[in-house]
Symmetry: C2
Subunit: 150 residues, 2 copies
DNA sequence: ATAGGTGCAAAACTTTTGCGTCAAG
DNA sequence: CTTGACGCAAAAGTTTTGCACCTAT
């Protein structure tokens, strides 16, 4: 909003943006760090975090606050939706038209609505297989939000 | 989810569930801890985490993985939607009918869809006021597009 | 030149885990 | 009794921050 401060295009920032736009998985800050490190071996993780924050602030990238504990970033800043695997937390694009945004309910008075978030939840192919396997060996997952299909 | 293991209703678990169902804000694990601590001063934060995980696993409460870095929990396990303030991260209920779930796009083959998540994003009344104020004193937000108050 | 940006290291948080002990069923 | 659960403390993992030095503009 009203960004009245110079944003310099440093080498680090440029590389981060380039690398992020190059991939279509939705990396975490740490994964971006690893990607960028191949071109800028001395970059700091703090710099990556700072830049992801700034770039998403000015709308050059998208910050995915959907995905549970760990944030993910998307080089595609255009509005689109995702699906998240409840098993491994992987995020993939869901190519689909914008959904019919429902009427904003009255209960949200006071609130100034800027948009909405939508994502499918489910299990990716890999995790389904893993689940089918452990089904036999009665091991179960207590881990992650992966509290199984319900 | 084939829960083939006994789940004991301990005093701690009972109190956590009770306290969570009592409130309609959507507390973080830490906030639940503070609430419960008034009745069980010796409870451990780890116990709170473990129980929130278990209770959401068996569907007694809802784990909100929407809200950015920090998870929130909802004593109302019935499916319903929320709105989240991008300023202070507060989460409120949006009383509304279930949305028309869009067709699952082909791009999501392989994926076994179990459901979807939807939430409005925007700014709550408090944060709007705070924004209007800092507008004058040209302080700007370098942070998030909106890391105001809290 | 100036002030935004960087790297490094340490701090701040949030969440999970190992382990000895306790208590629900 | 048995075994799931607890409390504690320590670990793990993610994100932020202070500071002195750079470097785009």
């Amino acid at each position: 909003m009203t960004d009245n401060q110079h944003i310099r295009m440093t080498r680090q920032r440029k590389v981060i943006l380039e690398e992020l736009c190059k991939v279509c998985n939705h990396p975490t800050a740490d994964q971006v760090y690893e990607m960028v490190r191949k071109r800028l071996p001395h970059i700091s993780l703090a710099t990556v975090y700072r830049n992801l924050e700034i770039l998403s602030g000015i709308g050059s990238i998208m910050k995915l606050e959907f995905a549970g504990a760990q944030r993910r970033y998307d080089g595609n800043a255009a509005p689109h939706y995702h699906a998240r695997c409840q098993g491994c937390d992987k995020v993939v694009d869901a190519h689909m038209p914008p959904i019919d945004v429902p009427q904003v309910p009255e209960s949200l008075n006071g609130f100034f609505i800027t948009g909405h978030q939508f994502e499918f939840t489910g299990y990716c192919e890999d995790c389904r297989k893993a689940m089918a396997d452990s089904e036999k060996s009665r091991d179960s997952f207590h881990k992650t939000g992966a509290s199984l299909p319900h």
